[in-house]
């Protein structure tokens, strides 16, 4: 555990981005290590979601008329008091009072002449324009991310940016063959965009930041609790569980995800692949995420897995995957349990059990029935094997933070 002191009292400020960088880092590290504070944080995040679900309401249209009438009444009353005190000017005061009651009158008090009225009108016009513009600017900066040009001429919605620009919700950032850019993801990290990429900001709010990668390649470095940052691709969603990865989408909508630190969940509505550092995962439109694998597996293993996932490779491809699997490839075998049935699942189980015997309490029958608790207990036991060889010590620490 990185921090001994619980951070329960700082969690809302953390979620609102009100802490200093050092405090943010400390809270993030503690959150990863402390299950108790993580539960608290989930409560806070849920509270934020609840409030964010509420809308600002428009005040009733008649309100201004009521206010204007009340002001007019107040003016008349105060004028009448003055009138009583100055009886010798009574007729003049009455005339003035009648003037204030005229429909369309724009003055509450007897200031100015035509010059003031003209200046006030010009000011009102100016304010309506400039004030409105500045209000929209403030709004847009709160719902946009900073983009820095790294090379070439990146564009946002077809407009080239200078050294920096801002990517608003719904806007596309595009890089040509010679351009690169960096996007600052709210306050939680950065995304580097390689040449030939088209990427859009879908959403940014306290509890969710989401990009859409239509084609090209991006590198994400995220420093935040799990499931705060998402990238939609044509065939799956990459949900960040903390740390770093590269995601690439080709013109056919296929994707490949390489995780360099931490974990990423690559998912569709009915299928999820948990991809740790050092591993990769492919997706195809209409199929979704394939089975994750370590890229240092044998070529035969990788080729057969691809056939099984995307080319109806069936029992033959599965047999090769099973026979070629090393202890580290238990990552792939564990995922295959839920993607096979009957005898095939039994074969996957036997090989998995031979490479990494299940812990006490995890039974063959339970696994064959895909008992969630048993599956996750077995996975937890195998995780050190998956991570040791590919991750330096700091990254292993990160993994342990966010995978609990």
């Amino acid at each position: 555990m990185f921090g001994q002191q619980h951070v329960k009292e700082q969690l809302t400020a953390y979620a609102h981005g009100e802490l200093t960088a050092a405090e943010t880092a400390r809270v993030a590290a503690h959150l990863g290590a402390c299950a108790r504070c993580r539960v608290e944080f989930e409560q806070i995040a849920y509270g934020i979601r609840l409030i964010e679900s509420l809308k600002t309401h428009a005040a009733p249209a008649a309100l201004w008329d009521n206010i204007e009438a009340a002001l007019a009444h107040e003016e008349v009353s105060s004028q009448e008091q003055r009138t009583e005190r100055a009886a010798q000017h009574a007729s003049h005061e009455k005339a003035t009072r009648r003037g204030w009651r005229l429909p369309g009158s724009s003055r509450l008090a007897p200031f100015g002449g035509w010059r003031t009225a003209l200046a006030a009108s010009l000011l009102a016009l100016f304010v309506l324009g400039a004030g409105g513009a500045s209000w929209f600017y403030v709004r847009s900066t709160r719902t946009s991310w900073e983009v820095a040009r790294l090379a070439g001429a990146p564009s946002i919605d077809a407009d080239r940016i200078g050294s920096t620009g801002r990517l608003g919700i719904g806007e596309w950032l595009e890089t040509d063959a010679n351009s690169r850019a960096q996007i600052k993801v709210a306050d939680i990290g950065q995304v580097e965009v390689d040449p030939g990429t088209r990427i859009r900001l879908v959403e940014t709010r306290l509890t969710e930041h989401r990009l859409e990668l239509a084609r090209g390649r991006m590198h994400a470095n995220i420093y935040a609790p799990p499931r705060l940052f998402f990238v939609d691709t044509p065939s799956a969603v990459a949900a960040d569980l903390g740390c770093a990865y590269t995601l690439e989408v080709d013109d056919a909508g296929r994707s490949i995800l390489h995780v360099t630190a931490g974990w990423v969940a690559f998912e569709t509505k009915d299928r999820e692949s948990m991809v740790p550092a050092g591993a990769a995962c492919l997706t195809q439109p209409g199929i979704g995420p394939g089975t994750p694998f370590f890229e240092d597996a044998s070529e035969l293993f990788l080729d057969s897995l691809s056939k099984f996932d995307f080319a109806n490779g069936g029992a033959d491809a599965l047999h090769t995957v099973i026979s070629e699997a090393r202890p580290r490839d238990t990552l792939t075998l564990w995922h295959l349990l839920a993607r096979t049935e009957g005898d095939e699942r039994a074969r996957v189980y036997e090989r998995l059990a031979a490479l990494a015997p299940p812990p006490a309490g995890v039974t063959r029958d339970g696994i064959m029935l895909l008992d969630p608790a048993m599956l996750y207990e077995w996975k937890a036991q195998m995780e050190p094997t998956w991570l040791t060889e590919s991750m330096p010590i700091v990254r292993r620490a990160w993994r342990s933070l966010w995978s609990k």
Partner: protein, 198 residues
């Protein structure tokens, strides 16, 4: 106001306020149009969705604003002054009402009957959940409630909220933390709906 003032470099809002201080009704109207929805929303959520009371509070706030604008000395942000006025008006009204008919202080207390929000709007905002959230916010202690409303409906920073409420940033953080935790606990039964709505 002289024409030269139009082109000076002071913030736009400061110039509008000065114009109001000289009695210009168009500038009053401009301030009203700029801030009315936020003031109304704060009042609406502060009083658990009571639209008539929220209208009344909004009217009171702007009447006070316009009649006291001469007292504003530009020593703080205008919005800080406005939201302090809004906060005080809401809290004063609540105190006044409590003397006659206690406002429910806990979520489990019998709900006050409020006129429904406009039907067209209600269709779009998952009414049941919004009602529950609104009721839960209204059931918070006023100090927690107003901190939450200033944060989410005015989008104020902790520092700005501290200025409005005349307290420290730490107090703001603490009130928001407590407020969020209470809401999450009281509305735990909606968690599945909220998450599935993502």
């Amino acid at each position: 106001m002289e024409l030269t003032a139009v082109t000076d470099e002071r913030p736009v809002e400061a110039r509008v306020v000065e114009s109001c201080q000289q009695g210009d009704r168009e500038s009053f109207r401009l301030l009203f149009e700029t801030h009315k929805d936020k003031v109304y929303s704060i009042a609406l959520y502060f009083f658990g969705g009571d639209a008539a009371l929220a209208s009344d509070i909004t009217q009171q706030v702007f009447l006070k604003l316009f009649t006291r604008i001469g007292q504003f000395r530009h020593q703080s942000e205008f919005t800080t002054w406005l939201y302090r006025l809004t906060t005080n008006t809401c809290i004063d009204e609540q105190r006044r009402r409590r003397r006659f008919s206690p406002f429910p202080e806990t979520f489990d207390a019998p709900a006050k009957a409020h006129p429904p929000l406009p039907a067209a709007e209600a269709r779009f905002m998952r009414l049941e959940m919004a009602d529950s959230v609104r009721a839960a916010i209204a059931s918070l202690k006023p100090k927690l409630r107003i901190a939450i409303l200033l944060k989410y409906f005015e989008e104020l920073s902790y520092e700005e909220i501290a200025l409005v409420l005349n307290c420290s940033k730490g107090t703001v953080a603490s009130r928001l933390n407590r407020g969020h935790r209470i809401l999450a606990r009281r509305l735990g039964h909606l968690r599945a709906n909220v998450l599935s709505g993502d």
